[in-house]
Amino acid sequence: MSTREAMDFDVVVVGGGPAGLAAAIRLRQVAPDATVCLIEKGSEIGAHIVSGAVIEPRALEELLPDWRDLGSPLKTEVTGEEMYFLTESRGFKVPALEKVMPHIANHGNYVVSLGEVCRWLAEQAEALGVEIYPGFAASEVLIEQNRVVGVATGDMGVTREGEHGPNYAEGMELRGKYTLFAEGCRGSLTKQVMAHYDLRKGVDPQTYGLGIKEVWEIPAANHRPGLVLHSFGWPLDDHTYGGAWLYHFGENLVSYGFVTGLDYQNTWISPYDEMQRTKLHPVFKPHFEGGRRLIYGARALSEGGFQSIPRLTFPGGALIGDSAGFLNTPKIKGTHTAMKSGMLAAEAVADALKTEQVEPASFTSRVRGSWLYDELKTARNVRPAFSRWGTKLGALYSGFDAMVMRGKAPWTLRFRHADNETLTPASTSQPISYPKPDGKITFDKPSSVFLSNTNHEENQPVHLKLRNAALWKTVNWDVFRAPESRYCPAGVYEVGDEASDPRLVINAQNCVHCKTCDIKDPAQNIDWCTPEGGGGPNYPGGM
């Protein structure tokens, strides 16, 4: 058995995003004596957070009613909103947005840097007595007698060959009566817990999107704080879900990004290049002129919503936030739902602590009784309509669903495929030619990754593991021509010796932890594992 050091807590929270932090805060509010420990794989809280981010303050209002007096970073209120359907050269503004697309109306919402919000939430949590340890990745779920009893952090100082290096430091067990998994979309431990307890039985496959983001600083004269812009249509084909966002906030900052639905079919699609070229569209280009790009990052998001939410609890813990898939896709918002799910789980755990239940099962009924459930249920048919009927008919359906059915349609559209099953072979996919970066508004991948401040200790085992190395050649290369070299937003995957003897090169040091390869690899052959804690991007304030 293990000789690792161990520490006991009432509750261990894995992940310091909005879900984990809200859960930790709520726990100390309702069970002030409970010991709560939260770990985060980023070098600091917020270092790995990527979000749009227009946020609904609803959950925050319930969590910290006096948030306005606590120096919160929610400063830019939404002041104007526009949605465009794009063709290659034109943009058509959707009229009467609040009626046609009520789910996306943003009145009363704030444009923020979610990383900054998380840092601030962490301060609130620490003030309430939560112990927060950034720089440590949970790399192992501890299960004893079929109950989750905590997690272990990874060993540090292991060499690439897997041996103990000179500054080797053994991982530590964080044992909790309850463990909350708040790893965000496609959590690496969540994946294992779901498999162990078969939590996805009877629910639709989860479907995802990849969001790639840039933060710009633009001339004050062009800055319109609180302006919120979205687009759909061009440059994606009708079978690909996605679109761009552009938000003005803070001190002359612009959050710009592009989400590509990971159920895309054409293997030649490069989400990175879609994001870059959309900046040149006349609807967007004027916003960037005279500005400078400050930050770059990427992260997958769960888009399945209601139909794809797994069983939420298991003996010894629960899944919260985007780990469970609580994102409202048509709204493109998951922060308020992540926080609300964390708060409800905390209340369930506080109850379970009192009565010493093995499973905090009341979490599920609490979700059912809350606005969170109603909200996701109302939104449930929008995203699958796009998968089924494409962008134009999907948009029409969503207008119908909102205006006529008011989200109360008596049917539920199902997701039929997991995202790794949708790619068409290279031979039958339409090649796409993307414009070359101009170095002013559009950029290449290496200069982008540079702005994510990403680093991993070089001498450590590769954290992107191929389950079966031989499959790469026969599936990824022969059939799909290495889609990972296009969807990975950090240029981690490259094909070496393409002409003579193609082989996969993995530049693991560049990985920004978006999790796309774990999701989209056609044979599910890539396993994203946690690297040494503290590695990965170091997104600064503003992201």
Binding site: M7, S43, E116, M156, P166, A169, F450, N453, T454, G541
Partner: protein, 270 residues
Amino acid sequence: MQGRPQDPASHRRQRVSGKKTMKILVPVKRVVDYNIKVRPKADGTGVETAGLKMSMNPFDEIAVEEALRLREKGAATEVVAVSIGVQQAQDTLRTAMAMGADRAILVLTEESPEPLAVAKILKAIVERETPDLLILGKQAIDDDMNATGQMLAGLLGWPQGTFASKVELADGRAEVAREVDGGTEVVSIALPAIVTADLRLNEPRYASLPNIMKAKKKPLETLQASDLGVDTTRRLTVVSVAEPPARKAGVKVGSVEELVEKLRNEAKVI
């Protein structure tokens, strides 16, 4: 180091040789993390630091590590970390204690002061703490001054071994291997003394999670710079801070012939 002016620590020379304690003081600076790409502020008055991850100066991690190794070898008995700066510098001190420093002192100032002010504050701390050895980083990666250790040696009138790649203590002296151009210079200096750490001195350990937890309980004393009677007014004026000129993109050459051709006709260097 002959004919040194009044040595403020000369009264302690005796204790150093015949004693059982051996205290090492390690100044640690909070700087923008080395992974972060910084940019000038829009108005060119300095570097934008708001919202950036801050960490211990990497050379100071090496300094802490060296002090810990000396203690672990039995050559030292106590390691004290000190930082001068804003309240958040206590995180840097907690890291030093998680690595293994026994206790820490935070000297609060409004912002990060210049090396001379830091050296004067450190001198005041030395007078309170009477350490036998100070190990500093050779330079801090934010301002790259490479000055604090040398200034402090001057103010104290202590001998110094800068750019250290090896440190041994014996018989009240430190033998320091220094990284100089083209090789290594070994100096032997009498304690108390100043050493500044170079990159190759050692590979610092991780602050492990159990040790971070334990470090929360180690003593951290907070002082005000003004209480030490040191004037921290800035003497240096920053004229402007600008981004380095962008490098031109490189080209890939297909053969040696092409390389030679390009060097001759395009770069015109051969």
